[in-house]
Symmetry: C2
Subunit: 298 residues, 2 copies
């Protein structure tokens, strides 16, 4: 499909892409750059692709360049690769927010570069190149966002690329993407971090018991609160406007429950607790979740 | 092990107990009472045990009586069965809070009744007798709480009973139980309900997208927000004191994250997001969770 692809940043997502591109034979050559020496040596010893020490060298001659590193590193990366990019290269990323990133790229005024953002909705609570696997994107959504209507052809190529990786592709405007994800992903993460911190800040004498009885609800939250800290720090800075808004709306909902508990308003609590069951049914119906109790976990 | 057991309330937990007692042959006879006609007919057609229409009749002659109905129904149930209880019967329950329940029972001044509370930390997001299964309690904790030191013998019998059902048994004082569970179970549920309500209160035009991209975090919360509303209403009323305290402490933690986002304090966010990974590792190490990414969900 491509003659040469470059992956910049080879953590969970980047290394899964590397494995998938290799497995599905989507490129004759794959170049890989990661600034971590540890990651470089892991890739050399365990994964396909040519590992580069020099980021600018790694993009030379590539038809597709994928940035798969934390959002805060984009600007530096783009400045470093700018002069090495091939004419009419397709530039994409795998980041979780879009609006600010798009501003950064627009401001760079890259010439003869087709920039289209990708967001594969896939991941696990583990990070690093050793955690990746080729099937990570299979049956997952990948959201593409581009500004320029003239990019239709490029959009089609990138859509096919992600479909060959195994994903289902959707298009979305930058702003809409950031708003929807602030609800489905960023809010749940902020909450999960807060809840886990509430628990770990408690006195140590009950800590063993808290861990022992975590199956009663807590453990589900610890999974997403175990995600990569740097990635999440960058998402919260980047999409702060939307996230602060939904956090306020969450706090109002929590306050409603608090008030109902304080006033022992059983009817209100009943209403609140009944209203939420429907959403799960809809998510299961949409094929986004298993209907096995406990996620099928034994 | 017993000559006759009565189960009062035959939903997810009660019917799982019924199945497990039958499967492991822990009683010669099993009596079942459920006030719902629908449940009665389901049990008659699909499950072992003798279904009773009269709750007082159902406990007569039983050596062990297990209340497995919502906390708010305990008082009425106890008043109804009081006169039918056999001398030296063991009375237990499967409720999720203990302190208030214990007060209710103490106030009734039951004579020749050995009351010990049970809390099996097991359940799924489904309810009703059709959702139960004999293996629900296997390898799960069951917390026993009793006040009277002279009940040692009864405690031992009940411990063996739960162990034969497949559970690991711990003893805990009523107060400690309610505090620990307010952190590991009740807080996560309050939060899950709030988060799902935050999302479902949004305009409908983005609803399809929200459901589509729920795999990015939201769907994990919808599982516990789909639990039985009546059961949870009762828990929040019963354990309100502890729950309101931990909710306040949660709100403080959330406010800390909000402040860090507002001031774009990357260092603080990094600290917050790094601090939470350890707890998950400890939970996995304690055997309370699978270490498979995504709970092994495909």
């Amino acid at each position: 499909m491509f003659d040469q692809i470059t992956i910049i940043g080879c953590g969970l997502i980047g290394s899964s892409l590397l494995r998938a591109i290799d497995k599905k034979k989507l490129s004759k050559k794959i170049n890989v750059f990661d600034k971590s020496k540890e990651a470089q040596s892991f890739i050399k010893n365990n994964l396909p692709g040519n590992v580069f020490d020099d980021i600018n060298e790694s993009v030379k001659g590539s038809d597709l360049v994928i940035i798969s590193s934390p959002l805060s590193s984009y600007k530096e990366i783009l400045l470093s690769i700018k002069s090495g990019l091939k004419k009419n290269v397709i530039l994409t990323d795998t980041g979780s927010t879009k609006k600010e990133v798009n501003k950064v790229i627009s401001n760079l005024n890259l010439k003869d570069v087709f920039w289209i953002a990708s967001h594969p909705i896939a991941g696990t609570e583990y990070s690093g190149p050793e955690s990746g696997f080729a099937e990570l994107f299979e049956n997952r959504w990948c959201i593409l966002s581009g500004e320029d209507q003239q990019q239709k052809e490029t959009l089609e190529i990138l859509k096919k690329f992600w479909e060959k990786i195994g994903s289902k592709v959707k298009f979305m405007a930058f702003e809409e993407h950031d708003y929807v994800l602030s609800l489905t992903s960023h809010l749940p993460h902020a909450i999960a971090y807060s809840i886990v911190r509430t628990v770990i800040n408690k006195e140590d004498k009950l800590k063993d018991q808290i861990i022992q009885y975590s199956a009663s609800g807590l453990r589900d939250f610890t999974r997403i609160a175990a995600s990569d800290p740097i990635m999440w720090r960058d998402i919260f800075i980047d999409n702060s406007e939307n996230i602060l808004k939904v956090l306020d709306s969450f706090s109002e909902n929590l306050h409603e429950i608090k008030k109902a508990i304080q006033s022992k308003n059983t009817e209100k609590l009943n209403d609140i607790f009944s209203s939420t069951r429907k959403l799960r049914k809809e998510i299961i119906k949409a094929g986004q979740e298993t209907d096995k109790p406990n996620f099928g976990r034994k």
